[in-house]
């Protein structure tokens, strides 16, 4: 039984470490801010990801050249975006997408160099957790039951010959 619990403790700790690393990776590379957050906090320095919808009637420039201007709308605020990068395949008006670039507080413009699709990481995480956690519990339950059965069998001395019962009353 001790070996079983040690093995599963190692698996549990490894799972927690992996979850923490995945959470950090998500926060650094995949999480996206809203236009409201960008306007309110004016983040500078490293490249950030902003999610929003390309506002209707604001897309200007040539898609083929990869030099475009548009406004990215959130729930309340609108972010002016200047895109300069590879010709985008998914950019069109009224499309929700992620822009990757830097916020310039002086000009209050977001200079984007890349675009990304809406992530839907919540669904991905939900699917993996819904599959792997019950799977882990199922396997653990089976292994534990086998260990308990071995213990019970050992205690009941099942492999030893049973004493014969005399029923003649003498």
């Amino acid at each position: 039984m001790t070996r079983l619990y040690v093995r599963w403790s190692v698996i549990l700790v490894a799972g927690i470490v992996l979850a923490a690393l995945a959470s950090q990776y998500h926060a650094r590379h995949l999480a996206a801010l809203t236009p409201e957050t960008v306007v309110a906090t004016s983040p500078t320095g490293t490249a950030i990801r902003v999610i929003g919808m390309v506002q209707g009637g604001t897309l200007e420039g040539e898609v083929a050249t990869g030099s475009l201007r548009f406004q990215l709308g959130g729930a309340h605020d609108v972010l002016p975006v200047q895109y300069q990068g590879p010709p985008p395949e998914n950019l069109r008006e009224l499309k929700t997408l992620v822009v990757i670039g830097r916020w310039i507080p002086e000009t209050r413009t977001f200079v984007a160099h890349d675009l990304g699709l809406v992530a839907n990481y919540g669904f991905v995480m939900a699917a993996y957790l819904a599959a792997l956690i019950p799977l882990g519990l199922f396997v653990f339950g089976m292994e534990r039951r086998v260990s308990l059965l071995y213990r019970d069998i050992k205690e009941s001395k099942i492999y030893e010959p049973e004493a014969s019962v005399h029923v003649d009353g003498t």
């Binding site: 993996y128 819904a130 199922f138």
Partner: protein, 251 residues
Amino acid sequence: MISLVIKRLQRYEGWVGGAAALCLVTGLYLGLIASPPDYYQGEVVRIMYVHVPLAHTAMLAYGVLFGASIWYLWKRDPIVDNLAHAAAGISAFFTAAALVTGSIWAKPTWNTWWTWDARLVSFAVMFLILAGYLMMRTFVDDPEREARYAAVLAIVGFADLPIVHFSVEWWRTLHQPLSISMRGVSMSGEILVPLSVMSTGFTLLFGYMLMVRTQMLYLTRLLQAKKGRLLSHAHVAQSGPQVGSQPSSAH
């Protein structure tokens, strides 16, 4: 013969479990981090790396249940019956998990959790057959009759498997058609590699789970038999001499 094969294979239980864990960790890394998002589905494609192997493993487990049920009806080997019973429990679990993960994938992709699509319905029917099988194994008192009825149900229920597999070919369904078939492979290597690694991992995990569960069912029956004998001994000892009773020689 097959009992001997099962017993020999169970020696490698730990190795199979270790290999499964290694494949699954590698597959999770490839599927969640190393592989790119899909052009149309985006990041949601990563759900495929767990959903598709779960569904394949569920069908593989049903295949084992089918084969073991035929073998049991032919040879009446209780170890093979344990194997069939174990495969049914594991298949039911994998089927349920595949349905849940598929539903989570369907919401962002089809904008619905469930639709009355031929593939989905036939797969849900498979789950109901397995649930019926497991219920039957608890309802019948006589172990021999229980095993026989369950084997017949498993064999009849196997008719659903070709329907599950070919439903996307036979009917116009929302579910995408077969990506790997006799016509070739219709997916990029970036998706195929993590999918193959995860599928291998889940197949090995199924092998490991089958060994553990078969052992579990065998030990449960062994213990029940022992307790039954002990109870009958105690009953005989308490009730005193009876006409026609014989000294027990059970081992």
